[in-house]
Amino acid sequence: MTEILLYLSWVLIAVGSFFIVIGAFGIFRLPDVFTRIHAAGVIDTVGAAFLLTGLGLNVEFGLVTVKLLMIFLLFFFSSPVATHALAQAALADGIHPVAEDLREVKTVAADKSDKDDV
């Protein structure tokens, strides 16, 4: 039983590390603040959750597990608050989301194709 839990914890730690690298790559590569917030959310939710669960399964149940749970709860509540405030502040500062430009381009293109059909 403990063997199975140990293997499961290794798998969870590996998956968490994978998602952390994916999220950091997104923060580095994506085009504007709002899309980068989306990438940071991957680290705060999936990456941290998998990694902390993996660490928690790696030890006997005790004080360490409770501390890991506290860190998980801290991420669970503080990460949405921070990202929401960040998006609000960026919008209030007049930063225009890139995604909206893309949508406009798409609708213009769709209108054009409709006219071509007529």
Partner: protein, 94 residues
């Protein structure tokens, strides 16, 4: 496996630091700083497990609370230009 996790967190940290240096807006830097804080907590936890001293988790917990307060303070300053800004005060005055 702890080593692999620590290594991937270090790679992610270097990417976040690069974003913090590149900018271009102040919000990108705040986001990168927040991510660096999150990754530091995870690195502290993993290194604590790797060296067999899980007491490092306490430091991570404290650092997480400081990270949240720091991010909120910087954002409040850049949005309102004043750390003591209160919505009620402005309503009373106008």
């Amino acid at each position: 496996m702890f080593f692999v996790a620590a290594l991937s967190i270090l790679v992610a940290l270097s990417l976040a630091v690069a974003r913090a240096l590149m900018g271009p807006t102040v919000f990108d830097r705040v986001l990168a700083a927040n991510t660096i804080g999150t990754l530091s907590i995870l690195l502290l936890a993993v290194v604590g497990f790797m060296t067999g001293r899980p007491e490092f988790l306490d430091i991570g917990l404290t650092y997480g609370l400081l990270n949240l307060i720091g991010t909120m303070a910087v954002l409040k300053f850049f949005r309102h230009g004043d750390l003591s800004y209160d919505d009620k005060d402005t309503k009373k005055n106008t």
